[in-house]
Assembly symmetry: C2
Homo-oligomer: 320 residues x 2
């Protein structure tokens, strides 16, 4: 096994070498989206799973690129839907070009991602399994995004519904990235299931952690202002718990029409009183543990198993 | 062989029976889009090609549905990009729901279309060939839409570029619909190429005919007001020819800032003076002839060959 950083470097090199069809107006936004040097966590998972199963990492690179292209496609379209003007400190595609261009380049990006899977160097049966996994993952992520959008118009979202939503919106793609790697390595049904469960639990842990960081994190390391979710009235793990347990307090805050730091402080005071930060962190820990237990069932050599346990911990910023 | 109407009925029955995943907010716009009883020309082509090659029509139905779902997906996203509030006399999805909903339901629709191909009942090698054809077609259509959008910002579009654009935007999907049917029928490379050429030429003929009808057609049978392309300064076959050959006249019309019927009459007068209607109709005829010649190379029985010749003529409203 290599380190996360090494896999990530392999992915970044391949992205830098990606060639697109000669239609610059269509593909410039795709190239721009892929440029920002991200952590490439999803394709790293694909490569690492393939590697853990003794498959050729070089050969798994093309499907891994498909996974990363797909992930960035979702960001591109999500930014239009959410009306978010920036992404990773740069203008979102729809803002830099136009919403129409972002829709079209996104559509093309999805097919370019699919093309990476289709044209990977595996026997038919494996390529079909990957294509199926890829497309099913896309449908799951679409449902997750739909739930998220539906939640915006509701005030009675339950914790269960929320976990469902993030397991689709965040978990499904981590699971899909693993499953595609598992197909590269000709994994048994059992191993595929183990990796799928790993991805789902990890996605849930990651998203709850993200919700906590948005309120209690450090602006410098987060790269964005604290409290954005509170100001945008986002349904997060913290928010849903607070509404369930201290609905009257939350309502009176909203009735007060507070803004900015005042609103953040008022909502955080409710969270603090309910000790939601600590409870949330225990939930993160619990899902992290579920992820670890899942991957332990994949039947991997000790070194490979350790990689995924470390990956899980590092993903949610915990030292092991 | 059956009649166009019979194939179309088979498709419409299957569409009525389509079941979507249980996420109504995501799939209601998809169902709405598929509801309007269209002519289903593209899936009819898929079924007819499969039938002409002695393949099972029932079995070809699922890929044919994928083709129709894909076609309707392009309309859904195009309406957002083009800011078109209506489609077939009903509200466009982005207008009835929202642009965000239209983007997301469109994304899901693409994957549902792909799913129809993936889950069709063919051996792996055929399913892979169909998936590849489907995805390559989608990329070609995206490029066509891109060219169309790029043309809006240019005044020097050449006829050659225009033919290129419509061969991608309209021709590629007719060709793709045929090719998927050809794969259902295990066609030789030669037969696939014949059907591909048939689809491309037919698409070009259809689009030029459409451009002519928008100016010289009959409002009642067209179902929309005459002259829309002129009022929207659209680059059409007629418009590009007029700018190439009577640029000064066209410029003086634009400089005059005419509107409504006055603008339509002024532009049509230029077209008339250049006899563009007649020339355009000869071009339609020429591409129609190319389509016929292509399909004659597919090595079909006489009855099957006649079907596609008749299909081509009826598509552009010519009696054979």
């Amino acid at each position: 096994m290599k380190t996360i950083k090494e896999y990530s470097q392999i992915v970044n090199n391949a992205i830098a070498a990606l060639e697109y069809e000669a239609t610059p107006s269509l593909y410039d936004p795709v190239r721009y989206t892929m440029e920002g040097e991200g952590k490439r966590l999803r394709p790293v998972l694909t490569l690492a799973v393939a590697d853990a199963l003794q498959a050729d990492v070089e050969k798994a690179l093309r499907p891994a690129l498909g996974v990363e292209l797909y992930h960035n496609f979702t960001l591109l379209h999500d930014d239009i839907m959410d009306n978010s003007p920036t992404r990773r400190g740069r203008q979102a595609v729809w803002k830099k070009w136009s919403p129409a261009q972002a829709i079209l380049s996104g559509d093309a990006m999805f097919s370019v991602a699919m093309d990476c899977i289709i044209r990977s160097c595996y026997p038919d049966v494996q390529r079909l399994a990957m294509i199926e996994c890829f497309n099913t993952t896309a449908l799951a992520v679409d449902r997750g995004q739909q739930f998220d959008m539906d939640f915006e118009r509701r005030s009675d979202v339950t914790l269960e519904e929320y976990i469902d939503m993030i397991s689709l919106k965040t978990g499904a793609l981590l699971a899909g990235a693993c499953c595609i790697g598992a197909v590269c390595g000709n994994a048994s049904e059992e191993t595929r299931k183990a990796f799928n469960d790993f991805g789902i639990s990890l996605g849930i842990a990651f998203q709850i952690q993200d919700d906590i960081l948005d309120v209690y994190g450090d602006e410098a390391s987060l790269g964005k202002p604290i409290g954005g979710d509170i100001l945008n009235d986002k349904h997060t793990w913290l928010h849903i718990c607070a509404v369930e347990r201290a609905g009257a307090d939350m309502e009176s805050i909203y009735a007060g029409n507070l803004a900015g730091a005042e609103k953040i402080d008022a909502v955080r005071a409710v969270y603090d009183r309910l000790s939601l930060r600590e409870e949330g962190e225990r939930e993160v820990e619990r899902y992290l543990q579920l992820a670890v237990e899942a991957v332990e069932k994949a039947g991997l050599p000790a070194e490979a198993c350790r990689f995924f346990v470390d990956f899980a911990h590092s993903l949610i910023g915990r030292k092991k």
